[in-house]
Symmetry: C2
């Protein structure tokens, strides 16, 4: 397990959805596309719905749809909604049971580096929308890999 992550699923799926925004996709469809389980898709998509990026509909013809044009959804929006940081925050639990100035100094330095790194990532993602990625896809893959937008 754990061969993938929430963010990779979200980016992959929303990238596909940006290709044909009108059509709703079921969780099953998306799960098959990404090689995972429908419940996982719902779990990952729930915060995106709450963030106003996705809409979900029940019943016949239901499924998931982009809540606004792909050009108005940046990767940063998705990243922020997921809330799963790249940086392993586990790296610095404070000293167990006793304060230590040296450890504190180290933690400060590392934290500063992490904040900087996060800012870089945020900037990077903010500069790219789903539409940008869809465009790249359109330019390079008029070939055969994903004819229109079919799963698998």
């Amino acid at each position: 397990m754990k061969r993938s992550s929430k963010l990779s699923l979200a980016l992959h799926a929303l990238g596909h959805m940006a290709q044909e925004p009108a059509r709703a996709r079921t969780s099953e469809e998306i799960a098959a596309m990404h090689g995972t389980h429908a419940v996982v898709v719902r779990r990952v998509f729930a915060p995106l719905r709450e963030a106003g990026i996705l809409l979900s509909e029940k019943g016949h013809g239901g499924g998931w749809r982009l809540a606004r044009p792909a050009a108005e959804i940046s990767l940063a929006d998705i990243y922020a909604a997921i809330g799963e940081p790249f940086l392993t925050a586990t790296a610095f639990a404070p000293a167990p049971g006793h304060p230590c100035a040296i450890e504190a100094a180290m933690t400060e330095t590392v934290s500063a580096a992490m904040v900087e790194a996060e800012a870089v990532i945020a900037r990077h993602f903010a500069a790219r929308t789903l539409a940008d990625v869809a465009k790249v896809w359109g330019e390079r893959a008029k070939s055969a890999s994903h004819p229109t937008d079919s799963p698998l």
Copy 2:
């Protein structure tokens, strides 16, 4: 478990060692200082020894010592020797069993962001030596927290 990490242990311990470089510390001592196990210390320190940052000696009076002055050991040296990246590389395993242009495009974007972020961290760490941190410690904690360099 996993309340700490290799890097936090290394930085914490080497920070202390930089305070009094002449004295060798046993793995037990360091483990007590960081609230972990001596074997874990040896495991984490092994690559630092191979990288020429630490020296280890067996027998009476043995233990660990800095291989060179604290001013010549940057945090980047330690970070590189540990080889444990901050950025969760798990985030992007490729598509399971089938290529997908969209996923590839997303992966490229994310990878580029990660490379940038890594560079920021590397630069940040390269600019700080163990001696710098020891100095910070010396300036702020002439008080009581760690009288000389005692564990706990």
